[in-house]
Symmetry: C2
Subunit: 106 residues, 2 copies
């Protein structure tokens, strides 16, 4: 999952404020430039960012569409978890009602 690594989430957060070069993204990250390049490739393959060329710099920018998808994904997940919690809570309440009959716990 492209969003799994904190360094990558950090880069995306930084890019939310606007275009940045590899060096700029690396600066707060306490890791070598090759490592940053690798993370950028992950983000690029996931189409979360795009890159361009400016002399010897290779600036990165956020891709708008997939992040909207990510946002929608979070919203969906939230709904899924909510419905699971609903079912769970019903289950737990029915257990409370039953509690006197046969307590399996030791």
């Amino acid at each position: 999952m492209a969003l799994a690594h904190p360094a990558r989430r950090g880069m995306l957060a930084r890019l939310g404020k606007g275009e940045a070069t590899v060096g700029e993204l690396a600066q707060p990250l306490d890791m070598s430039l090759p490592a940053v390049t690798k993370h950028l490739k992950v983000l690029e393959r996931a189409m979360l960012i795009s890159r361009s060329k400016n002399a010897q710099w290779r600036p990165c920018q956020l891709e708008e569409a997939p992040l909207k998808t990510a946002s929608r994904w979070f919203e969906q997940q939230r709904k899924v978890w909510e419905s699971r919690l609903d079912r769970l809570e019903k289950h737990l309440h029915s257990m409370e009602k039953d509690a006197g009959s046969s307590r399996g716990r030791e």
Copy 2:
């Protein structure tokens, strides 16, 4: 992340319907029992489930509280992404206005 693996999410979904033994959780999963045991340990360490004893069975059940936390987490994440997208959209619109002045694209 305990919620990362589809098998584990499947187990949690199953447990949302009520207690289940290791064998019952394994049945739909096309993997060996030892593999299932490992996944269960991950879930147990993350305190998403708890286990008990019933003869030779070791039934599992969902832990309520942390899943509520997970739900809250999703909600938070959603808000974070939304605010990022707001910022991003403002940025993109300001670029549109600028578009005529200096087109870096080739």
